[in-house]
Every structure is written in structure tokens, then in C-alpha cells.
Amino acid sequence: MVIDRNHILEILKGVSDPEIPVLTIEDLGILRDATVDDDGKVIVHITPTYTGCPAMDMIRVNVRAALQEHGIDNVEVIQSLSPIWTTDWISEEGKRKLEEYGIAPPVEQTTDKSFINGDKKVVPCPQCKSTNTEMVSLFGSTACKAFYKCLDCKEPFDYFKCH
């Protein structure tokens, strides 16, 4: 069987993130590439969002399982640190899905002056869209999120930190 790289990528696009199941590993920018070597071995390159992210091991398992379902068994999953993942890697589609899910997406790029200077930012509430919100804690339910509350609709929400 000849394994086609595009076919592999198509399968992997269906693998979702264990922590935020509405997003795929492609939306998040965790999936970097897949290659097929001369012996037909598939090599999948993934990159961690946070260094201690406990979801990485789960993602490895899910990547293998997805390929196995399509009869592809000879797979190696490689974790590469370069280029470094930032929230800029989250696709526009991914950001839209995050907001729909109730998680406020990053409001800036890591190259923005406001981020570099560490300016206070306005994070709109993903529920009622009000900009009258405040941070409760810099660290939320997972390492990649901060915890906010909306002062208008009073709902608490997670904010995917620019990082």
C-alpha cells in the first residue's frame, strides 16, 4: 500500500484536543507535519503548547489510534520544540470555535506591542460580548488559560492566554 502524505494529514485533521474537544490538533497548531519515509513509516510531528501540558501523551495515543483505524500501523510521533509554539498558531477557525465553546480566544498576537509591554488588556466576555470584564486569576483550569468574570452577565469564563 502506498501511503500518501495528504491522506495522512486528512486523517489527522480529525483528531481533537483532549482538553478542548471542539478544537482539532490542526486548529491549535499542535500538528506540525507528517512525512512518510522510504520504508513506508509515517512520522508525525507535533509540538507542545505548554511544556508541562499533560495532554501531550494523550494526543500521541489519539494520533496513533486515528491512523490505526485506517490500517496505518507503522507510525512514529515526534515531539519537536522548534519553531516554538505560540498562541499565534491557533487558526482563525480555531479562535472562532473557542469563543463559541465559551472560552475567550487570545486578544493579541505575541508580536503586538501591547503584549510585549505587558499592557492591561480588555477581554470580551464570550457569552454576552461585554467588554466590562475583570481577571480573577492569572491561572485558570489549565496552564494555558486565565480565569475571568464578566461584570455585566456575571458569568465566569476562561481566557486562552496570549503566550
Binding site: P48, Y50, T51, G52, C53, P54, L81, S82, I84, T86, T110, G118, V136, S137, L138, F139, G140, S141, T142, A143, F147, K161, H163
Partner: protein, 251 residues
């Protein structure tokens, strides 16, 4: 053939974040309020993640079938080269915050410089972790101000914590012989400019916190040579319990 200096340097950096991450994990389930419990656990996760990257790199250098787990689980006290500050007890929340803030002042600027290392893997690890350390420093600096410039009680506890922990700050800026040799080739970070930046941040935040640095600070050191404080054995007793009870067990 492994470069002994680089190997030692890798382990020294790993040991610092491994032990501080372990200490912070002791707060999990015991934080003063839920948000802070989560925050300290998240910082612990970041630090242990950084330690894993470094231990994996050490294992790659050493070869012989070593894995990242061999270093934290199978070395005894004298083989650990972390600085003494990271092994100090959690104490009350003030003691934890001051220990964290002092380490963050060093760690953030150190990682920033490490991301420019001539050693490619070191540079990746630095660039990856500096993004997280930036949030750690922001977090601990905010608590320094909130508690230092807080109530009479919180101020007094913070001042006590500063006096207890400052003995361990300077050790972070004393290079080992191996480290100094690596600075020449641009692999290791030159600590002199890091020290200047760390003190600038420290002084700025101390002032805003209405706290005072003690005068005539006696510097405790020894961690880099494997000479640890009395708390360290207790950490290993817990951290390595499973491997000592059931050698080579797999989880």
C-alpha cells in the same frame, strides 16, 4: 562522547526547576483559596515540564539507555546540584511567594538569555520556557505587592519571609567551574548581567511592596556541589519513595 560540562550544566538547570516544581506541588489541594491552589499547581506543572525537557536532553547526552526518569528518581542527595533556595520549605503563603518571586527574578532573565544559547537544544528549551516564566514573575510580583503593602499581619509575614529567604538568593548567581567554561563558548548564560537585571526587578518590587531588604546578608551556598540543607532528604524520601520501595518499577 559526551561533553561533561554540558551534561553537568543540563542537570543543574533541571534540578532547580524539578525541586521547585515538586515543592509547589505540595500545595495542590492545600492552597489558601481555590484560585491560588490552581495557580501554584499550574506553575508546578510548567517547572516540571521544563525539568522533563532538560532531563530528556541529559539522557540523550549520556546515552547508555538512560531515560529522563533516571535522574529525578535514582540519584541520591549528593548527586543533586540544585540551588538551596528551591528546596526550602513552603512555610506559610508569604514564605512560598517570596521564595517564588526570588527564583522568578533569576529564572525569567536566565531563560531569556538561555534562548540565545549557541547550543541549539538549550536555546529551544529556553525559548519555550521563558514564555511561561514571564507569567510566573508577573504572578509572584503581584502577590509581593498585595501582601507586602497589605495588612499589618501580611506585611509582617512578608518581611519575615524576605529575611529568611534572602540568604539563598545570591547562590543563584555564582557560576560553577563547568558553567564558566561553557560561558566562553556561548552555551551557558553569563550570570553577571542576569544578576543586574534580577536585582533591578527585586528592588523595584520590594519598594512597591513597602518591604525592606535586610542589610548584611550572609549567603548560604553548597547546592551546586551537592551539599544541601536539612530539608532536602525529606523531599527525596517522598519523591523517590516508589522507586526505592520497588526498584525499577514501571507506572
Amino acid at each position: 562522547m559526551k561533553n561533561n560540562d554540558l551534561f553537568k550544566y543540563t542537570l543543574q538547570l533541571a534540578d532547580d526547576v524539578m525541586i521547585l516544581g515538586h515543592r509547589l506541588s505540595e500545595w495542590t489541594g492545600h492552597g489558601p483559596v481555590l484560585e491560588q491552589d490552581i495557580a501554584l499547581s499550574n506553575i508546578a506543572l510548567d517547572l516540571i515540564g521544563e525539568a522533563r525537557n532538560l532531563y530528556q536532553y541529559a539522557a540523550k547526552q549520556e546515552g547508555n539507555g538512560k531515560t529522563e526518569d533516571d535522574y529525578p528518581y535514582k540519584r541520591d542527595v549528593l548527586q543533586w546540584t540544585n540551588a538551596l533556595i528551591v528546596e526550602q520549605k513552603n512555610g506559610d503563603f508569604a514564605q512560598t511567594i517570596v521564595r517564588q518571586f526570588l527564583f522568578d527574578c533569576y529564572h525569567y532573565y536566565h531563560l531569556e538569555a538561555l534562548s540565545k544559547s549557541t547550543d541549539e537544544q538549550m536555546a529551544f528549551i529556553g525559548a519555550k520556557s521563558v514564555k511561561e516564566a514571564r507569567y510566573h514573575l508577573q504572578y509572584s510580583a503581584e502577590w509581593m505587592v498585595r501582601l507586602g503593602d497589605g495588612t499589618e499581619e501580611s506585611h509582617a509575614r512578608m518581611q519575615q519571609a524576605i529575611e529568611d529567604k534572602m540568604h539563598y538568593f545570591e547562590e543563584l548567581f555564582i557560576p560553577t567551574a563547568a558553567e564558566s567554561r561553557l560561558v566562553e563558548s556561548g552555551v551557558a548564560v553569563d550570570l553577571a548581567p542576569i544578576r543586574v537585571k534580577a536585582y533591578a526587578k527585586l528592588n523595584e518590587v520590594i519598594k512597591e511592596s513597602t518591604l525592606k531588604l535586610p542589610e548584611d546578608i550572609y549567603t548560604q551556598q553548597g547546592g551546586r556541589n551537592g551539599v544541601h540543607t536539612e530539608h532536602f532528604g525529606y523531599i527525596l524520601a517522598e519523591l523517590q519513595y516508589m522507586q526505592k520501595s520497588y526498584p525499577n518499577m514501571q507506572w
